[in-house]
């Protein structure tokens, strides 16, 4: 057996699943978004669904909200994760426990975090009660609206909560692989601690930071349950709108749902392309 054939056989099942399920699902979704549903007896291609969503105010505000939530969550989570990784890479007593707590957080499902955030930050949540106990607020309505709020703060808090450990652990592993010698060299060459971070460590961890952030951005852009639980009814981010349209009792709205799903997928593909450009220049994912 040739090596080529061997490799192909090893890859075949994965190729089948990813290509068939994932690729096939996207392709079917794309076709369906053009109104083509042979199983439903519709075989004409049209752009009705796209026309309809582009004309709808709720789509644009949903798209804007989605982009806003993903951007803000990713930036805050990335920033905090850098800070956390910088502290955690130092050797200090109790580091093992703290790293373990970080990993524990990775295993906690998003929805649990969302429920927790809800009970912490709602206007009658734990923080509001603490504020009341401290005499800062007179009643629930004095507490700032942090969930079901127009700025989607609750949603962002949940994503930040969940993703800081994720990015921080990626960065930590990356920093360990890089070691401290580059920084030592820079220090000797006259760079102060801030300059070392700015000119040496940050550029070195940037690919890992970027990779982690892209995953977070794409995830938050496509997530349904968190905004469904913590968000306002209107405006709702794209995945919520897509799900609503998909489960609408009016089947004619299904192509609209698919069209929105395709827009989500399209944006994610752009991110993926950026990822590919970044990494294949450097010679492979494991590089």
């Amino acid at each position: 057996m040739t090596e080529r054939l061997k490799i192909l056989l090893l890859l075949a099942p994965a190729l089948l699943v990813i290509g068939g399920l994932f690729g096939g699902g996207l392709l079917l979704g794309l076709i369906e978004s053009f109104g083509y549903m042979p199983l439903l007896g519709q075989t004409e291609l049209n752009l009705e669904a796209y026309r309809a969503i582009f004309a709808s105010q709720s789509f644009w505000s949903g798209l804007g909200l989605s982009l806003y939530i993903s951007t803000v969550s990713t930036v805050i989570a990335g920033g905090l994760a850098i800070a956390a990784a910088l502290v955690l890479r130092r050797a200090f007593k109790g580091r093992g426990i703290i790293r373990f707590l970080f990993q524990i957080n990775l295993t906690v499902p998003h929805l649990v975090g969302a429920a927790g955030i809800l009970y912490l930050f709602s206007q009658s949540g734990l923080f509001a009660r603490l504020a009341h106990a401290l005499g800062l607020i007179g009643g629930p309505s004095d507490f700032p609206a942090l969930v079901f709020d127009p700025l989607a703060i609750g949603i962002i808090l949940q994503y930040v909560w969940k993703e800081v450990p994720f990015i921080a652990l990626i960065l930590l592993a990356n920093m360990q692989a890089i070691g401290r010698d580059y920084e030592s060299v820079a220090r000797c060459l006259g760079a102060g601690p801030v300059q070392v971070f700015r000119h040496v460590l940050l550029p070195l961890i940037l690919p890992a930071l970027f990779a982690g952030s892209m995953i977070i951005f794409a995830f938050t852009f496509g997530a349904y349950e968190i905004p469904a639980l913590l968000g306002e009814t209107y405006p709702a981010p794209l995945p919520v709108l897509a799900y609503r349209a998909f489960t609408d009792v009016d089947l004619a709205r299904r192509p609209e749902a698919l069209a929105m799903a395709m827009i989500i997928a399209g944006l994610a593909t752009l991110i993926l392309a950026g990822y590919a450009k970044l990494f294949y220049q450097r010679g492979g994912i494991n590089g």
């Binding site: 190729l15 990813i18 699902g25 079917l28 979704g29 502290v87 929805l111 912490l120 909560w161 997928a265």
Partner: protein
């Protein structure tokens, strides 16, 4: 030098850890509370009602727990069977189109599953896969398989297949080679991959909802229902149950995950 951190850094870490643990606190308290009105910092009455409800069969939680576990274990097992060979190919060989294949494996991690699942829905419906465990397991493979494959690829990238040839030359059959040479070498990575794959499936909400059509009820679906219905006590109790397997698995797997094979290390591959 193992030393104490400067005070501002200690403060930062303390705040960070509090923040990471904070959401779990009201959930735990709610699960045992009976009435907990604003502005009480602690409940005015406690009760085990939520817990006894959650453990009763009418709540659907025991069934949801079992279904969640079955689905996540099946998805992990299937991912392992499919992802192990693929990871081996990616980790050990250079071949034409490898970059493209890597990108394909990576795609489901970036492109949200909801997009593919909406497209698959009609076909699954036609095949009778909606509302079945099989359908949900299959759709969970979309996010689960890439994790497993990438972790296995990184495991095999650091693996020397010459040991297998050595074992062969010493008279080991192909099963023995796998059992005594390959498996021990890849086991820590394999466990890491399995843990993360399990958790990916365990946390799925929207794919289960779409393909399960309401008939496959996993813990996240129950959690969502009770959380949006405002049953904080039951939500708290389900949350506690829901986070348990992940924490336990991490503790058990922890000894395999230490050092270079830490969870973070495999995440770095993603």
């Amino acid at each position: 030098m193992t030393a104490r951190l400067p005070i501002p850094l200690r403060l930062f870490l303390a705040l960070l850890i509090c923040w990471l643990m904070a959401p779990l606190i009201p959930l735990a308290v709610w699960s045992g509370s009976r009435s907990w009105y604003f502005p009480d910092i602690l409940p005015s009455a406690y009760s085990g009602r939520a817990w006894s409800y959650v453990f009763s069969s009418v709540s659907g939680v025991p069934e949801g727990l079992w279904q969640s576990a079955f689905i996540a274990l099946s998805a992990t097992l299937l991912s392992l069977l499919i992802g192990l060979p693929a990871g081996r190919a990616l980790g050990l060989y250079k071949f034409k189109g490898k970059a493209l294949f890597e990108l394909l494996i990576l795609a489901p991690l970036i492109v949200p599953g909801i997009a593919a699942a909406l497209g698959l829905h009609m076909v699954f419906l036609k095949l009778g896969l909606t509302g079945t465990m099989a359908g949900v397991v299959i759709v969970h493979l979309i996010p689960a398989l890439p994790y497993m494959t990438l972790v296995m690829a990184s495991v095999f990238a650091g693996y020397n297949p010459a040991a297998e040839q050595q074992a062969r030359s010493l008279g080991a059959g192909s099963f023995q080679v796998f059992r005594y040479v390959t498996l021990p070498a890849i086991l820590p990575g394999l466990l890491t991959g399995a843990l993360f794959t399990f958790l990916v499936s365990w946390s799925q909400y929207i794919l289960t909802l779409l393909i399960g059509g309401g008939r496959i009820v996993t813990l996240p679906l129950l959690l969502f229902n009770f959380a949006s219905a405002g049953r904080n006590d039951i939500t708290g109790a389900i949350s506690m149950i829901y986070i348990l397997p992940g924490a336990v698995l991490l503790l058990i797997a922890g000894r395999y995950l230490t050092g270079r094979n830490s969870a973070a290390d495999s995440l770095r591959q993603i």
